[in-house]
């Protein structure tokens, strides 16, 4: 497996301590120039030590204490490689599969593996199977990730394909069953893996949410987070000095490579990502696991580790990063928009304590990535290097230090609640009588009456149904006795689709629209919406 490391852009020293100049300006008002020794070593020296069996490897969890004890110079002298690891649900993962040509040959346009669709628009018999694709029969409980896991564990997979007929590919469809060995190539190519850190999730809304950040309980019931903290590869090389195109990595139990920056790579904000590849045929189920996130879909847990050579003191300093140094935001997923409000900024150390204080309440935290498995990855990589089975490669090109993660340009406008709501809504105070309320409803256009306080703030709602019930019961006189106090509302800048989901979810037919001070601005009803949607669909 070993290939001679190329002469990449890694700085090389002469072997012993290098000499560097450090200028310390304006010390005691006198410009001084100090000559100091700066520890450095080269990648080829490290690989030589791996070959000899004299290399010193530690994991990124062990490194911070070593640097505290030895200093960065001592750490460069003593430690050659720091192994990192992460094991998390990495949705942006998948495999390219080449099926070989059938007889008569087929040019596949659509294909399914165990009824999970793979993309067939790449040549005749190449497919790309994405991890998050749900199956057509089992839905979210079985998807692309599960097919990948089945292949890795040696199971047979049912293939169905449809072709588009040409003179050279006369076949229309095909059915077969294949094992991993039967594919010519099975190459994992993951467009976005190993996020440097990830926003944590909380839910302020009234209902349980099922998300790619797991199950989020209502009213700040729990916090879920993701990432491997101080073991994360990029957090140990935040300036991307060693991680580059061509860097050899540990990917799901075998050797893989970084092939570029991942999608949504955004180093400016410490959200770097990696695009990686590796041979699925050599991967192990220990470091690759299919998962299902309830009511969200399938995903793939990927074990990924990068060995970082301790070439100089700067790298040594970076690999001494601790959980407490890495911060992340807790975002409110109760707000179903792209920019979710930040509830609190915390460190990974805070998150790993198991509790975070939110508005005076201790909220339990759960990581969704496995720190235990991340550690197994870093340990496995260390052991491979110690046994002389894994050599470090120099990158052939640096990864970009700037990235782009802009919001989508949406060319088709989506209507907002404020564009569609009716503004001629009548509100009432809570002290009016049932019969007054009944008259207002009869004379108006709505069968919902928002009830407001003295200061015109929304307090509750009364429906025609509530009133008929009250009349039938007799005794009740004021609407304050019958109004519903827990009112679901919409805001004017909320997309109509979200308001429609609220109506549907709570099985109600109208929502008062309120501004941020809870003043009623209008009303949106399911009739308004169905009129609008049918116009859009058929108009």
């Amino acid at each position: 497996m070993y290939t001679q490391p190329g002469n990449g852009s890694i700085p090389r020293g002469s072997g012993g301590p290098g000499i560097g100049a450090v200028v310390i300006p304006q010390l005691f008002n006198t410009p001084c120039l100090y000559i100091v020794f700066v520890e450095e070593k080269s990648l080829s020296e490290i690989n030589e030590r791996i070959r000899e069996g004299s290399v010193c490897v530690v994991t990124a969890e062990e490194m911070p204490d070593l640097v505290d004890e030895l200093g960065t110079d001592g750490a460069v002298r003593e430690v050659d490689v720091v192994t990192t690891g992460t094991f998390g649900a990495m949705c942006s993962s998948g495999v390219f599969l080449n099926l070989g040509h059938s007889d008569p040959p087929i040019k596949i346009s659509r294909a399914w593996l165990n009824r999970v669709e793979a993309y067939g628009g790449v040549a005749a018999v190449d497919l790309f199977l994405g991890a998050t694709q749900p199956s057509e029969d089992k839905g979210n409980e079985y998807g692309g990730a599960h097919v990948i896991e089945d292949l890795v564990t040696g199971r047979e997979v049912e293939i169905k394909a449809q072709g588009s007929i040409t003179d050279c590919y006369p076949r229309l469809d095909l059915e077969t069953a294949l094992r991993l060995d039967d594919f010519n190539q099975a190459t994992m190519v993951n467009p976005r893996n190993a996020y440097q850190r990830y926003d944590a999730a909380i839910n302020s809304s009234e209902r349980t949410l099922h998300t790619y950040m797991g199950t989020l309980l209502p009213r700040h019931g729990n916090i879920n987070f993701s990432g491997a903290g101080e073991l994360n590869p990029i957090s140990n090389d935040p300036n991307l000095e060693y991680l580059g195109i061509g860097t050899r990595i540990f990917l799901c139990g075998t050797q893989g490579y970084i092939i570029g920056t991942g999608t949504q790579h955004y180093p400016q904000d410490n959200f770097s990502t990696l695009m990686v590849k590796g041979d699925l045929k050599e991967m192990s189920n220990d470091y690759l696991r299919a998962a299902t996130f309830q009511d969200y879909g399938p995903s793939l847990y990927v074990g990924l580790g990068v060995p970082i050579p301790v070439l100089n003191e700067r790298i040594a300093g970076n690999t001494a990063v601790r959980d407490e140094d890495i911060s992340t935001d807790i975002l409110d997923y109760g707000v179903p928009r792209r920019s979710r409000p930040v509830v609190k900024t915390v460190s990974y150390e805070d998150l790993y304590t198991g509790f975070v204080n939110i508005e005076g309440k201790e909220v339990k935290t759960s990581p969704l990535s496995s720190r235990y498995m991340a550690r197994q990855v870093a340990d496995a990589l260390r052991d491979l290097i110690l046994k002389g089975k894994f050599f470090l490669s120099a990158p052939v090109e640096q990864l970009s230090l700037t990235g782009k993660n802009d919001p989508m340009r949406q060319t088709r406008e989506f209507p907002l609640v404020g564009d569609v709501m009716s503004r001629d809504v009548v509100t009432v105070h809570e002290d009016i009588s049932i019969s007054e309320a009944a008259w207002i409803i009869v004379g108006g256009t709505y069968d919902h009456l928002p009830v407001v306080s003295e200061s015109e703030k929304l307090m509750g709602i009364v429906t025609a149904w509530d009133i008929s019930k009250a009349v039938a019961n007799g005794k009740i006189s004021q609407i304050s006795e019958i109004m519903t106090r827990r009112v679901f509302v919409a805001s004017p800048d909320e997309p109509l689709e979200l308001a429609a989901r609220k109506l549907d979810h709570h099985k109600i037919s109208a929502l008062p629209v309120v501004d941020k001070d809870n003043h009623v601005m209008g009303m949106i009803t399911s009739d308004d919406m169905s009129r609008l949607f049918s116009r859009r669909r058929y108009g």
Binding site: G214, A291, Y301, K364, S366, P367, S370
Partner: protein, 128 residues
Amino acid sequence: MKLVLHVEPGIVRQPLVSSVILETGALVNIERAKVDAVSGEIVIDVSSDKCMEVKTAFEQRGVKVVLLEVPVIRDEMECIHCGACISICPTGTFRFEDFKVIEDAGKCVQCGACIEACPQRALRLILK
């Protein structure tokens, strides 16, 4: 100790729990109760010395009683120690020990929340 009481529709309206408490003098904690059109299921917690006495008292009233020794099991082969089950559990059944998930299964009241939250489908409720 936890007991699961399966209550048939015919007796569901009787004050079963209170009469057993009065008869046995046991301190009973109702951990979960679900009663619908066809049957009822109640999970109670009683101290181990009173457990058998309470069990018999319910059985005499026509209730099917199952002793819940290990309410929830975690499949060690499937579990990846992600910890998703920790914050979701209302009774604190799971916790980390050096980043490995371990459970105190006796705390489980079989609410079912963790079953769906486990991305590996590694958790199972016994007798459900």
